[in-house]
């Protein structure tokens, strides 16, 4: 049995190493000051995909990322570790996407790929931090989802078995293919880049990265494995009204730096009444709801 696996991977600013110039005066991220990295939990996701590929030889791992052309680096990083290839979904029309528009675009790309068994993403991106994209894709494609996955145990007769890390412990669940799995950071770390793959794929590129370099184009033309797909909104038949800013009901109005202090801290007992009082209070002051 061989599987077609799509790994959703996002290029994110490295918010784990935030220096003092990480934010601009207007409160937005200063992307120039933060190195662009492979979203950490997406590396955990990739590792699960590569393990499946080892378990079921002949399986194919495709990295799918939405972002500017330089996000091709994410696909290359995937290939250095054992992915077979990848696609960069890139179009000005996708700019300003919230989670709804992001998952719309990605699900359109997944449909275009068509023949897939498992879509594996990270639980959450370290910049947007919503953990919504994976589940939304599953909804849009109308397929099952397993979140907080820690280990994909195997696939048998079209049924996948997955260990999930949940608050109170570990749970093992089964679901039918095709499906979306989002992987938790507690899963195995991704394997390192492989020296041979690194040398083999270091010149892999999307067409727009080499648009101005004929020598590189000729080099890639002779080596089809160096082609990384570059898809636009049109190439995935996306409805522009559902893409980017236009397709994003979320509008970021203002961003503030909030420093949490303990002065408002209050202890409540773990009883139903006390919890209910608290929740009512929070709804009343619009903290939630």
């Amino acid at each position: 049995m061989s599987l077609n696996i799509i790994v959703l991977a996002k290029q994110v600013p490295d918010t784990r190493n935030v220096g003092k110039d990480a934010m601009k005066a207007d409160g937005t991220i200063n992307r120039a000051a933060l190195p662009a990295i492979f979203n950490p939990e997406d590396l955990n996701a990739l590792e699960q995909a590569l393990k499946l590929k080892e378990m079921y030889p002949g399986s194919k791992v495709t990295v799918l990322t939405m972002g500017p052309a330089r996000a091709a680096e994410i696909v290359r990083e995937g290939m250095y570790r054992g992915a077979d290839g990848g696609i960069v979904l890139s179009d000005r029309a996708f700019a300003g996407s919230d989670t709804l528009a992001t998952s719309y675009a990605l699900s359109a790309a997944v449909r275009k790929i068509g023949d897939y068994d498992i879509i594996i993403g990270g639980r959450q991106a370290i910049d947007g931090d919503t953990a919504q994209v994976g589940p939304q894709i599953a909804e849009k494609l109308g397929i099952p989802q397993i979140t907080y996955a820690e280990e994909i145990m195997g696939v048998d007769n079209g049924v996948i078995t997955v260990k999930r890390r949940i608050e109170s412990g570990v749970e093992t669940v089964k679901a039918a293919l095709p499906l979306v799995v989002t992987v938790n950071g507690s899963a195995d770390a991704c394997r390192p880049r492989n020296a041979k793959a690194l040398q083999k794929f270091k010149y892999a590129a999307v067409p727009s990265e080499v648009a101005a370099d004929e020598a590189k184009q000729a080099f890639i033309a002779k080596r089809p494995y160096l082609n990384i797909g570059e898809w636009s909104a049109a190439s995935v038949d996306a409805d522009l009204a559902q893409c980017g800013l236009a397709g994003s009901p979320t509008k970021v109005k203002q961003i503030e730096n909030v420093v949490f202090t303990a002065k408002d801290a209050r202890r409540i007992e773990n009883t139903d009444e006390q919890l209910e009082t608290l929740i009512k209070e929070l709804i009343a002051n619009h903290t939630i709801g």
Binding site: R16, P192, R193, A195, A197
Partner: protein, 567 residues
């Protein structure tokens, strides 16, 4: 989140040495593999970029994996189960990572599954790995035993074993026995050939690093009745065939993750490598030369770790209202540590380039006859490699011991505690000047090049090179040190007493070492001004050391040696 390659600018300085162009072009046979293998470089720049990228992976593994596991590995260590070694958990993870990263058989040709890297970037990887965990460097670095198979074994053996090493199987070199340490001519492990031609081994080896490896190179006595090195041959033992068990693992002071095994051979089937009787005098000599370079790299990596730990601590720790680094006494220790580190590294890579040059010619000579010029060049570099290997192993390992000692000193009482990394570095460093030939044995190998003038000729050649005016003063000091060295050598050899030469050998080898490292730092400074500080500090130190030795020799009457010798 640490990368031990990208955070260390001095590595790139050595990787980008001007001699690399020639080394790479020869090693790649003018890039003949470019269209044959999808991971082969197209040209020099491409090759250098690949080394850089792969070293970045090594740096990442070193910083994020090996260094992180090192403390646990040191505590847990390996153990024996049913005659076989079980590594510490961290060691298993480290090995798994290096296998997945494809960092085995780095210097082996592509047709055998290797990366075809020159020795220099391979040694750089060893330097990086050692900074993270010196004990793990042994397990990973034993891959260079494959070099000996590649050079001397039959085509069938090469095809059989090297691809396995490239795929990540580990190796060991089984030389030492209870009564054969520095003196390997006394090896007694018995090799007998059965009627069907099969060789088998019987006996015991001890102190064998990674003695439960997949593929062993074994030195054994094949010629019954002989007593010296000419009765020894080299064999390959394949663990898949069985016959060797681990009796015990030594309980060591340092490099605790690296299993040091006592091995029992019971009719262990083996294959002869090359010709009988050449085991020690040819193959082991080559094997040890490669391994010595590896230990020099291990020493440099440890020196690097020690310097960094000490520097961080000295900036952090405050006494008498200021950081201790602001006390001149502490600053001097740190500056000297850094100078010794940079000098060690300069010597290591000078040596590795010489090894690269002669090895690549040796390899080309298997494909076609070398031209006269090539032969001359090969001979020149072979001689330099021969002279620089014991010097590098000896000097860098002693410096690494000194640096880890000083690292503890900078930490004060905390350094004596198990809580700080410097304590482990100090224990790990201690072995570097013992195995692969003690420092005394390195001196035995190097003294030939003192008396025959290899060092002096090289130094004189460098003396002829121009330096920027700002460094004329340093060069003048080096010229003066050279005069003192030459005069000392003349006075010692003039006595014409081998015992006297043996007695003074260490001093003369060290003098040559200080001058050579001074010049190498001077050359590095021409390419990168940031080396200047280490250059100046090192030459000041070397000058005093050379003067001390020159003084000792000048004021020594040969008959005074009797005060030192025992009946």
């Amino acid at each position: 989140m640490a990368n031990f390659y990208t955070d260390n600018a001095s590595l790139k300085l050595h990787l980008n040495h001007p001699m690399m162009r020639k080394i790479v072009e020869l090693k790649e046979r003018n890039f003949a593999d470019a269209d044959k293998y999808d991971y082969a470089p197209q040209n020099f720049e491409d090759a250098m970029d690949s080394y850089d990228k792969v070293l970045e992976v090594v740096g990442e593994l070193a910083g994020d994996v090996f260094a992180e596991n090192a403390a646990d590995v040191d505590i847990q260590g390996p153990h024996v189960e049913n005659g076989h070694v079980v590594y510490a958990d961290g060691t298993k993870k480290n090995l798994d990572a290096t296998r997945k990263a494809g960092l085995s058989g780095m210097a082996m040709p592509r047709r055998l599954g290797g990366l075809n890297f020159p020795i220099t970037p391979y040694i750089m990887a060893a330097d990086i790995v050692s900074r993270a965990d010196a004990g793990f460097e042994n397990l990973w670095g034993l891959q260079d035993c494959a070099e000996t198979i590649y050079e001397f074994a039959s085509p069938e053996q090469i095809e059989k074993y090297i691809p396995r090493v490239c795929a990540g199987e580990t190796m060991s070199m089984d030389l030492t026995e209870p009564d054969a340490g520095s003196d390997l001519q006394s090896v007694m492990l018995k090799a007998t050939q059965k009627e069907d031609g099969q060789w088998v081994l019987n006996g015991v080896k001890r102190f064998i690093t990674n003695g439960d490896s997949d593929i062993h190179l074994v030195l054994a006595r094949s010629e019954e009745g002989t007593k010296d090195g000419r009765g020894l041959s080299m064999f390959i033992y394949d663990k898949r065939n069985g016959g060797v068990t681990v009796r015990r693992i030594e309980n060591k002071m340092g490099i605790k993750g690296s299993p040091t095994c006592e091995l029992v051979y019971k009719d262990a089937p083996v294959e002869l490598v090359g010709s009988r009787r050449l085991g020690l005098i040819k193959y082991v000599m080559a094997l040890m030369n490669g391994a010595r370079l590896g230990i020099a790299a291990q020493s440099v990596g440890l020196s690097e770790a020690a310097y960094r730990e000490a520097l961080d601590y000295a900036k952090d720790r405050r006494q008498f209202g200021k950081a201790i680094i602001d006390f001149p006494a502490v600053a001097e220790i740190l500056s000297l540590m850094k100078a010794k580190l940079d000098a060690s590294r300069a010597l290591l890579y000078a040596c590795s380039r010489y090894v690269d040059m002669y090895k690549v010619y040796d390899d080309i000579a298997k494909e076609r006859p070398l031209t006269l010029d090539e032969k001359k060049e090969a001979k020149h570099f072979s001689r330099l490699a021969d002279a620089f290997t014991p010097l590098a192993k000896g000097m860098t390992s002693e410096f690494c011991n000194q640096n880890t000692y000083d690292c503890i000193q900078i930490h004060g009482g905390s350094g004596f505690m198990k809580d700080y990394r410097c304590e482990r570095l100090y224990r790990d460093a201690r072995i570097t000047s013992i195995y692969e030939g003690t420092t005394q044995l390195q001196v035995v190998a190097a003294i030939r090049h003192v008396t025959t003038g290899t060092y002096l000729n090289t130094i004189r050649e460098w003396e002829g090179e121009e330096v920027a005016p700002a460094y004329e003063d340093v060069k003048n000091t080096l010229v003066y040190m050279t005069q003192q060295y030459a005069a000392s050598v003349e006075s010692v050899t003039g006595v014409k007493d081998p015992t006297y030469i043996d007695f003074m050998a260490r001093r003369m080898v060290e003098m040559a070492g200080h001058i050579i490292m001074g010049y190498l730092l001077l050359q590095d400074t021409q390419r990168d001004a940031s080396v200047e500080r280490s250059l100046r500090v090192y030459v000041k130190y070397g000058q005093a050391e050379v003067a001390k030795h020159a003084d000792f020799i000048a004021n020594f009457r040969p008959d005074q040696i009797k005060d030192y010798l025992f009946e």
